[in-house]
Amino acid sequence: MSVWLLSGAGSAAGVAHWFLVFNVFVLAIVVGVELIGKVPPLLHTPLMSGSNAISGITLVGAILAAVYASWDAKGVLAFLGVTLATINVVGGYAVTDRMLRMFKKGKKEA
C-alpha cells in the first residue's frame, strides 16, 4: 500500500487529481483523433513530420532532468537527451517547412 500512498493515490484528493490527469489524457486522444482524421492524404507527410517534431517536446523532460544533474553520468545522459530532443524538434520543423513551402496551387502554368 505504501507505494500507492507515495504516489498520492491513497487519499480522496489524490484520486481526484489522478482522475483529472486521466481526463486530460482521454480528452487529448478524442481531440487528436477528431482533428487528425480530417487531414487529407495530400498532407500526410507534413502531418507525420510535423507531429514527429512535436514529439520532441520530450525536450521539456530532458531540461528538467538536466536541472539536477552535474557532470556525472546523469549530466552526460541529460546532455544527450537535450541534444537528441532538440534535433528532433528543430530538424522536424525544418523539414516540414521545407515540404510545405513546395505545395502550390495550380492554374498559372510555368
Binding site: S7, G32, G50, S55, I57, T58, V67, A85, V95, R101
Partner: protein, 471 residues
C-alpha cells in the same frame, strides 16, 4: 515554486496545448498548412520556456553545469537539426523523418532513465510504471526507427529478415521486460536494481530492432507511422513520470496521429497491422508464379510511346517508389507540361501506400512544382480511368496489379488498387520485368492494351519529352 511561477508555467502550458491543437486543425488544408507549422513552433517555445525557470534558481558551479548541459545541448541539437534538414534530399525524406523520430524516442528513454537513477530509493509504483513504459516504448521507438532508417538507406537489406523462433524470441523478450519491471516495482531500492534497470533498457533496445527487421521495405509507410505513434506514447508516459500535463496532451496528439496514419496505411493494403508486423510479407518469392499470368509482353520503344502520348487527350500519371528511386519527378513534370501544351489534361493518381512513407509521392511531385490540385486520391480518380486515354505508370507495380481485384489466391487480393488497366491504353515505365516488392506477377504488364517501356524512368521520360518536342 512560487505562485507566480506556477501561474506562468500553467498559463504557458494551456496556451501551448491550444496552439498545438489549432496547428493540427490548420494542417488540414494546404492553404493554411505552412501557418500551422509556425504556430506549432510557437507552441513548442511556450511549452519549453517554463522548464527553464528552475535553472535560474541554481547558483555558482551548479548554474554553470546546468547552462552548459542545457544550452550546449540545445545549440548542438539545433545545429545538427538545421544542417541535416536543409541538406537532405526530398527522396531521402522517409529515412530522415524516421531518424528524427528515433532521436525523440531515445530522448524519452533518457529522461526516464535519469528520473529512475535520481529517485531510485523513493520510487512509488505510480511513478515507476510510467518510467518503465517510457523506457520500453522510447527504446523500441529508437532502435525500431534506426532499423527502418537502415533499411530505407539500404545499409541493410530492405527484404524481410526472418529466422526461426523470431516471434517466440520477441515474446520472451517482452515478457522478460515485464518481469524486470514488476521486480523493480516490488523492490525498487535493492542493490541490484540499477543493473536490472540497465537490463530493461537493453531488452527494449533489442526488441525495437528485432520487431522491425522482419518487415519489408514496401511496408515501411506502416512502420514509420507506427514508430511516430510510439514516440508520442513515450512522451505521454514521460508526462506521467514528470506529472506534466502538456507532455501528456501533446503525446496523445502525436500518438493519435501515428495510429490514424497506421490504420489508413494498413487499410490501403487490405492487411491487418498484425499481418504487417508479423507476416514477413514479400519474403517468400515464388519464382515461378501462376502459369496464366505470363504472356507475351508488348514492348514499345520511346518513339512509339511518345506518339501514343501525343495523340492522348487525357493522361493519368501513376507514380510509385520507382519514381523516387530514379528521381524522375522533375522529368515527369516536364513531360506533363509538354502534353498540356498540346491540349491534353494531365492528372496524377496517388495510391495511399505508394512510396515509403504516407504521402511520399505528393511531396516528390510538389518538389517538381506539380500543383497540388492535380494530385488525386484513389477514391477521387479511380472511376475516371475508364474515360482516360493513357494511364502512365512510373515505377509503380503492386498498386496497379489487377490480381488484387480478381485473383483470390493472390497475396494482395482485396487491396484497393488504381484501375490503370481500365484506361484505353496503359504505358508502364519499368527497369525490367522483375516482379515488384510483393514478388507477384502483374497481369497488367501482359494485358492487351498495355505497352512496356523498359529502362531508367528518368532517362525514358526525358527521351519521350525530346521526341514530343520534335513531333
Amino acid at each position: 515554486m512560487s505562485l507566480i511561477e506556477a501561474y506562468f508555467s500553467e498559463g504557458c502550458y494551456i496556451a501551448a496545448a491550444c496552439l498545438f491543437m489549432l496547428s493540427l486543425k490548420w494542417l488540414g488544408s494546404p492553404k493554411t498548412a505552412r501557418r500551422a507549422n509556425f504556430i506549432s513552433m510557437l507552441a513548442m517555445a511556450l511549452a519549453v520556456a517554463p522548464s527553464l525557470l528552475p535553472v535560474s534558481k541554481t547558483h555558482g558551479g551548479a548554474l554553470v553545469n546546468n547552462l552548459v548541459i542545457i544550452l550546449g545541448g540545445m545549440a548542438l541539437g539545433t545545429t545538427i537539426g538545421l544542417v541535416s534538414a536543409t541538406r537532405v534530399k526530398m527522396t531521402a525524406m522517409p529515412q530522415m523523418v524516421g531518424l528524427y523520430n528515433g532521436f525523440g524516442g531515445a530522448a524519452s528513454l533518457i529522461v526516464a532513465a535519469v528520473e529512475f537513477v535520481h529517485k531510485r530509493g523513493e520510487l512509488g509504483a505510480g511513478e515507476a510504471v510510467p518510467i518503465f513504459l517510457s523506457v520500453v516504448i522510447g527504446g523500441v521507438c529508437f532502435t525500431g526507427s534506426m532499423a527502418a532508417f537502415c533499411k530505407l538507406q539500404e545499409w541493410i537489406s530492405g527484404k524481410p529478415v526472418l529466422f526461426a523462433g523470431q516471434h517466440i524470441m520477441n515474446l520472451v523478450l517482452l515478457l522478460g521486460a515485464l518481469g524486470v519491471a514488476v521486480g523493480l516495482c516490488v523492490v525498487p531500492a535493492a542493490g541490484w536494481s540499477l543493473w536490472a534497470f540497465v537490463g530493461l533498457v537493453a531488452i527494449a533496445l533489442l526488441l525495437g530492432w528485432l520487431v522491425v527487421i522482419p518487415i519489408g521495405g514496401a511496408d515501411m509507410p506502416v512502420v514509420i507511422s507506427l514508430m511516430n505513434s510510439y514516440s508520442g506514447m513515450a512522451v505521454t508516459a514521460t508526462g506521467f513520470v514528470l506529472r506534466n500535463n502538456v507532455l501528456i496532451v501533446v503525446g496523445c496528439l502525436v500518438g493519435a496521429s501515428g495510429i490514424i496514419l497506421t490504420r489508413i496505411m494498413c487499410r490501403a493494403m487490405n492487411r491487418s497491422l498484425a499481418n504487417v508486423m508479423f507476416g514477413g510479407f514479400g519474403a517468400t518469392v515464388e519464382a515461378a508464379g501462376p502459369a496464366g499470368a505470363r504472356g507475351p509482353v508488348k514492348e514499345a520503344g520511346v518513339d512509339e510511346a511518345a506518339m501514343v502520348l501525343s495523340e492522348a487527350q487525357s493522361v493519368i500519371v501513376i507514380p510509385g517508389y520507382g519514381m523516387a528511386v530514379a528521381q524522375a519527378q522533375h522529368a515527369v513534370r516536364e513531360l506533363a507540361a509538354l502534353l498540356e501544351k498540346k491540349g491534353a489534361t494531365v492528372r496524377y493518381a496517388i495510391h495511399p501506400v505508394a512510396g515509403r512513407m504516407p504521402g511520399h509521392m505528393n511531396v516528390l511531385l510538389a518538389e517538381a512544382n506539380v500543383p497540388y490540385d492535380r494530385l488525386f486520391d484513389l477514391d477521387q480518380i479511380n472511376e475516371d480511368f475508364k474515360t482516360t486515354d493513357v494511364a502512365l505508370v512510373v515505377g509503380a507495380n503492386d498498386v496497379v496489379n489487377p490480381a488484387a481485384r480478381a485473383d483470390k489466391s493472390s497475396p494482395i487480393y482485396g487491396m484497393p488498387i488504381l484501375n490503370a488497366d481500365q484506361a484505353r491504353s496503359c504505358m508502364v515505365l519499368k527497369r525490367s520485368m522483375n516482379p515488384g516488392f510483393a514478388g507477384i506477377d502483374n497481369e497488367l504488364f501482359v494485358a492487351q492494351n498495355t505497352m512496356m517501356v523498359f529502362g531508367d524512368a528518368k532517362a525514358t521520360l526525358s527521351k519521350m519529352a525530346a521526341a514530343l518536342k520534335e513531333a
